[in-house]
Symmetry: C2
């Protein structure tokens, strides 16, 4: 069904509150998930609250306070206190931005968190302030390194964000051949996986989502991409917590924020980024293709379109699931 942006946000907050989350966690999560919906990333939007509710029911409330364990003018280490990543990574990024404004650059690590969402969201928090950012996050072992048939790596997202004159340039990828959420979506829809993205428990290539879940997802991009996933995992290891998360907990988030003014110092970075983007967009397109798209262009365009419409689609089953959580919370 279609909800206005405000309705979707209110519903997400109400559902999070109903299952036992505090106001600040509910707000951070709703804002992130509605933004994902606006950008067309359905599997990473409101359905996540149903998964959060399931996790909360399974593990009970193990939350402790989110706290800064160690701090310098350019850094902080956060114990996420088993809070959901939408809340922890947002706070980590806020702290990194505050520190980068003071010192020119900063890095913040968080451990003991889970479900960190779309890293573009955090990159945009920085680019809105005219800052450049870089983030990486590890996760439980569901991806096999290149050359292996056994999982050792998370889906390991990595992102960079740069302010530009209008839309920022945000590169946000998973270092895996297929995202875990996409794999689950294929399973739900009964569709086979694309070729070459997963192996079964014996290490043989498979297109069956269930077999892939028992086996492993492949790393993206051969040995170069597998190496990048190892980089992400090591940045996570720099944030404390286990070097490989045991499951949907104890994940790490690393964010680094830089003021481009420290280097160029003449206020022209957003213009320079726009100049480079324009040059790249002007490259002669491959026959039959629309030309070069800068990273984030599609997300930004989708969000503008939905904001103009004022509405997002929420699958009926997700809507009724969320309403059920809210109603149950009222009892």
């Amino acid at each position: 069904m279609r909800l206005t942006v405000a309705q979707a946000n209110d519903l997400a907050i109400a559902a999070m509150r109903a299952i036992g989350y505090a106001q600040d966690e509910a707000f951070a999560t709703a804002d992130h998930l509605v933004d994902a919906a606006l950008r067309g990333v359905t599997f990473g939007s409101l359905p996540r609250i149903l998964a959060i509710a399931e996790r909360f029911e399974k593990t009970g409330d193990r939350r402790t306070g989110l706290k800064i364990v160690r701090e310098t003018p350019v850094s902080a280490l956060l114990d996420g206190g088993d809070h959901v990543g939408y809340f922890v990574a947002r706070r980590a990024t806020e702290i990194a931005i505050e520190k980068a404004k003071q010192s020119g650059m900063s890095m913040v690590g968080a451990f003991n968190t889970w479900y960190t969402g779309l890293f573009a969201y955090y990159m945009e928090m920085a680019t809105r302030e005219g800052l450049v950012a870089f983030a990486a996050g590890n996760g439980p072992a569901i991806v096999a390194p290149e050359g292996a048939t056994e999982a050792r790596l998370g889906t390991n997202p990595i992102a960079f964000g740069f302010p530009a004159l209008d839309d920022p340039v945000i590169w946000d990828i998973g270092t895996c051949a297929i995202m875990h959420g996409e794999l689950l979506l294929h399973q739900r829809l009964g569709e086979p996986l694309p070729e070459g993205v997963a192996i079964d428990i014996k290490g043989e290539p498979t297109r069956d989502p269930a077999a892939a879940l028992a086996g492993a997802i492949k790393a993206w991009g051969g040995h170069k991409g597998s190496g990048l996933s190892i980089v992400v995992q090591l940045l996570g290891a720099m944030c404390g917590g286990p070097v490989i998360s045991p499951g949907m907990s104890d994940m790490a988030y690393f964010v680094l924020v830089m003021d481009p003014e420290l280097l160029i110092g003449d206020g022209t970075f957003p213009e320079r980024a726009a100049e480079l983007s324009a040059s790249i967009r002007s490259a002669r397109p491959e026959p039959g293709r629309p030309g070069v798209r800068m990273p984030f262009d599609r997300s930004a365009a989708e969000r503008r379109r939905r904001m103009a419409e004022g509405e997002i689609d929420v699958p009926d089953i997700v809507h009724s699931g969320l309403m059920h959580l809210v109603d149950r919370g009222r009892l």
Copy 2:
């Protein structure tokens, strides 16, 4: 012919001095190029001095002093003064290391330089000090972004280095489907290029090195890899100079150094990195493959072997070319 490591180093220094480079530039370049030879990267080793000599003859001596243009406790911007990158990037990395030791982290940008070499060299400077490092460098437009048939990007290397208990983990790649030096080597040897790495001037796929040089190299890794190359180009744009280098000059080098102690703070990062490496190496290998190799393993093993032998191979034609430079310098 085979030279001892000391002979190769002396010859490289003598050749650099003979063509007009100062002692410090000659030392930095020789050290880098001999290290490349030890690690088996022949095209990036002593032959480079012949290319440097050609460049020096072509452009004349346009060098000005290497100088710090802007500086804070956590950053510096260097004007490379048209000095060769082996010298400029080494100095930039030294400054970044000094600052990271003082402040916990730092970033240094350099513009107005060229030929920066193997980024693993700079990463190792940091990992030897127990520091984590990240570097990126842009270059002239010889790579087409994904979806285009016209070059807009450099070969755009990117690297990360992490200290570990014994060998560091160093991920060092070019974000292009084939390195420029490898393409030139194929041309010299009269061998066709691999499939899918280049296009001709009309944008058609080609395996002919000459046609590829007139056309463009493809970005590595489809749209994800092409996006990473754009990230590198934007980091270069943060260092001043033109957003796309006009040719073999005005290139940028960006390096960021972090003390892992800022976050984990208990001195265990090298052990944690080794623990993760051991876990990755233990993953069941694909049938018929030797198992998972950590980034930098092969380089480190090659260097150990040659150091034990005490000698490196220098192609006869390169040796006689360098001797010629030295003899001419004596006249």
